[in-house]
Symmetry: C2
Subunit: 401 residues, 2 copies
Amino acid sequence: MSKLKEDRPLEGIRVLDLTHYEAGPTCTLLLAFLGAEVIKIESPTRGKLNRHLFYGLEGQEDLYFVLLNLNKKSITLDLNTERGRELFDELIKKSDVLVENFATEKMAKWGFSEEALTRCNPALVYASITGYGSYGPYASYPSLDMTAQAMGGLMSITGNQGDPPLRCGATVADSSGGTNLALGIVAALYRREKSGKGMRVEVSLQDSVVSLGRSLLGTHIAFGSKTPKAGNQLKDVVPWNIYGTSEGGYVAICVINQGTFEKLMHLIGKAKIVEEFELYSLQCRKDARDLIEKAIGEWVSNRTKKEVMKVLCDNDIPCGMILDSLEIADDPHLGQREMIVKVVHPQWGEIKVPGCPVKFVDSHLEIKSSPKSGEHNQEVFSGLLGLSKKQIRLLKSRNVI
Amino acid sequence: MSKLKEDRPLEGIRVLDLTHYEAGPTCTLLLAFLGAEVIKIESPTRGKLNRHLFYGLEGQEDLYFVLLNLNKKSITLDLNTERGRELFDELIKKSDVLVENFATEKMAKWGFSEEALTRCNPALVYASITGYGSYGPYASYPSLDMTAQAMGGLMSITGNQGDPPLRCGATVADSSGGTNLALGIVAALYRREKSGKGMRVEVSLQDSVVSLGRSLLGTHIAFGSKTPKAGNQLKDVVPWNIYGTSEGGYVAICVINQGTFEKLMHLIGKAKIVEEFELYSLQCRKDARDLIEKAIGEWVSNRTKKEVMKVLCDNDIPCGMILDSLEIADDPHLGQREMIVKVVHPQWGEIKVPGCPVKFVDSHLEIKSSPKSGEHNQEVFSGLLGLSKKQIRLLKSRNVI
């Protein structure tokens, strides 16, 4: 096991994790998946609240917390105490990365301004994620996933024409923001190998959403027009839509390439309409949108989604089944890729969880459940900082840890 | 200018870019933004097609191409010729990273299997992005953004209850996939500093979409239930919705924290209903969803979206305006963050384009337009590979470059 772990690219990197909610924890989750030692710092008194954000303190920990904190270590430490801040200083000296998602003033109020942190450890990569970043007119404004989807343009282009704005069903502002921050951190770590110095990295949720809309929204930004909402269609590509299947399911079929389009028409027995209506370019296909959609719809409606996907994909025609959470959980492909894996949680027992979307050939990732609060206090405060058992007991009795 | 460039974290890294469509180019765009030298390799004969995918060869290059290829260099090289493959071998020896998004067999058919590439340059980071990755039952299947949104569960949770599956309006499978691959590449570059060896990295679009759904879809995967579609609401949080404003716009308001909720109710003059209905927990707020939504809706409907956002955010209550492409283009905050910047394209003139979502304090990024096809042939074939003017002329006359 320890042999396998040495293959992970960020092996040897220590990350202090002061994040909560989703974007920050997503960042440190990815760093942990890549092999970094991520030490999550929780409040000894109020830490439990983050683990029971949605369903109250009585029941099991929120799965929301569990899923975003796999493969991490946990210590308790109260930064509101002087002794707590001293210990944090010691941890900063022995760490490579600090990630936090507090409002800007919070860190400085504790005495951990950028300058103070750099003085303490000039090689530290200091990374923050907030709704709008640390500068610009909205810098002090709060934001959560949907407000970021709104301010980044995503809600204006999701849904059907004429309908009100709609969010994307997944928390893509948080998850893409966290991924962007992980990218920035690893890039800064790479540079540190050359310069010996840390860097200050920041990501905003709004910027991240704009980046998600780079191609479609970006085209209209550059052209100076308002992006139309088009439901499941694309203005410039036919076919690009979903189609109902015989058992009440759906498939998505998307074809850009002209040769692939003609193969599709042939396969569904409609080669004739290509000739008859001279559907020899994307432009002609756009003009015949209804005709093409109807032909595909009829053919799909007589088959199951599994059948449709297999026959189209076997012929190199892009087609995907619409899968829901239950189907994803049992998808044989995701299982084989270890994108869905089983872990054992002390309260939930054996559960299936999403794994790491970045795969390194010849480097195996073992996924472990989220830590108990303070599970690694002994390891970190004794092993890393060299405190005695007595000192640790004392800190605990004073609620510093 | 060159001084500023030295501050970028990936300065000195050379990337060969064999990608097309969107996920691959997004990856190399981010690497270029981070300071890497990205050399895009285009076919001397068919390269133009990728630049005119949607609107035909007559008009300007697709903005789709321009936006995804900022800050890159371009050379032409025909890998279907023996001399082209020899030159590619030379480039591999002098590069750090190769990124491609072909079907798996394509690279091997050219003689560029993983083994061959590693033999040529053992320190090469070889990165691929495909619909389903290189192993598992779907490995050979084609995929585009929407089929990946379908197979990753995203379409099953976007939209209103009872409605058919819906895609997210932005190409989040492609953009998150490209970002994941960039993260993997930079992690591999970091590790190479320790090991001296390259790595093989791969990302699949389906895995990337599952990762976007980690919190919401993941919760239901772990719990063993089907994720409900909830439009703009969240099952477990009230308020979390959009509200119409006086001028016909919309704002998103999202409140998890109980103290923030009570502040919101006070601010809109409804402190009384908190008392009357004992709205002292998330659970009670969920039970009073309609009441709370109505109270907020009425208050918002008498104000413009700018007014609502300002007063709520000034009071630390998460609120965002729904912005469209035209508003994004002129958003003062995104302008100040250089998330929307101006570049000059030879055909389009001055256009606004989305910038880099990862910000390094004290490191300025200069964003340049996409290169012309073969714009850097001289620089690369002469400067990097040492070919003479005569040799380059000959290669051009034979359509090798």
